[in-house]
Symmetry: none
Amino acid sequence: MLVVEDEARLAAALQRGLQAEGFAVDVAATGPAGLDAARHGGYDAMILDVMLPGLSGYELVRRLRAEQHWLPVLMLSAKDGEYDQADGLDCGADDYLTKPFSYVVLLARLRALLRRGAPERPTVLSVGDLRLDPARRRVTRADAEVALTAREFALLDYLMRRPGQVISKIELLDHVWDASLETAPNVVEVYVGYLRRKLGRDRLETVRGAGYRLAT
Amino acid sequence: MLVVEDEARLAAALQRGLQAEGFAVDVAATGPAGLDAARHGGYDAMILDVMLPGLSGYELVRRLRAEQHWLPVLMLSAKDGEYDQADGLDCGADDYLTKPFSYVVLLARLRALLRRGAPERPTVLSVGDLRLDPARRRVTRADAEVALTAREFALLDYLMRRPGQVISKIELLDHVWDASLETAPNVVEVYVGYLRRKLGRDRLETVRGAGYRLAT
DNA sequence: CTCGGCCCTGTGAAAGCGCTGAGGACGCCG
DNA sequence: CGGCGTCCTCAGCGCTTTCACAGGGCCGAG
């Protein structure tokens, strides 16, 4: 088990507690150190604080995932409103716990995580004759490559992870457009337009008053 | 012993012959099946045909090596000029035999291979006509040596380990430039520029807003 | 059929991103 | 000490992308 926590007392407590449960535990106190350990050590899971010196927990997971490491991650955060749960899960953590937390709950979540194991993330998303490969950053439609800009790619990625479901503009703004409260929802319409032009007219359905849906 | 060979008669002959020598022999008839067997079974060596349905022998070895399996591999190929010996050895095979071959020779080579055992050695990385030998610190392009500085070499090394994938500047900074939170991402651009000059313009693709990709 | 609101899209400005040449800092060697 | 090679910074340029906006089309309700 890898524990990444800068508060020395909490880190020590976790280490002792987990060792008592039979885990072998390493501790890292800073973001960069944690990232490094997660990369190299063969851990079964990681407990990760959000607030860390050098590199936030979010950023740490994001980078880890970007490098194709699927180590299960349980995130810890002080609930100070600055960060929230959705953010944590969004950036690639597998579970989330708010400080202060009960030790028993932590153990239970951890066990659940380990039971699940490192899920083999889908390498390639595929819906109909559309294919999107996040690692290679390639999109093909009926085996023909489609060139997308960064934003278009992010949008399509998001939609392809929930094909057939209606996704609201607000949600898309939140996730694809980094929570900018002051951007008009019209951007979404514009980008859906771009995608339609590149992928075919009827692939993205408009659900009036509700959002958009990727045809399955 | 694992024999990966799609020609049924040859496969059967090899199996019988090797069993007569006291080997336990499994046969796989397709590339994917062979890869799978090589991954899981604890074989001492593999005899591998180049021309296979589903996945070529070259690709099979490459993948195996990429996953850190150092099972000794003896490659077989019809000498039709399309593939050649250098290719076979470059992609990570340990020895090479051209069809038609004498059974005695095959046995001798196999024995030699087993004597040597599985060496823990990094393979020569090879993508397209690019070759990079980490041990010798040498890079060739279409068999012509290319002189690279240390940094250029490290960068190319990193990219060649994940050909086709998009790798972000952040990740490159992390790995090639060690822990430089305060170095501008511009260094990466500069060095990609250097590599392009030495390796050819279109070998390194820019993926705007995401990173770089080594063309496969 | 009409109307109001929702959605689409062409236009264009601004910002962002990546490439490159110039050049400074540093270490190595003669 | 000067020449050389490597590493890296910096600033300017050109292209792409992003986004706001506005006019017009479409849809559903009444």
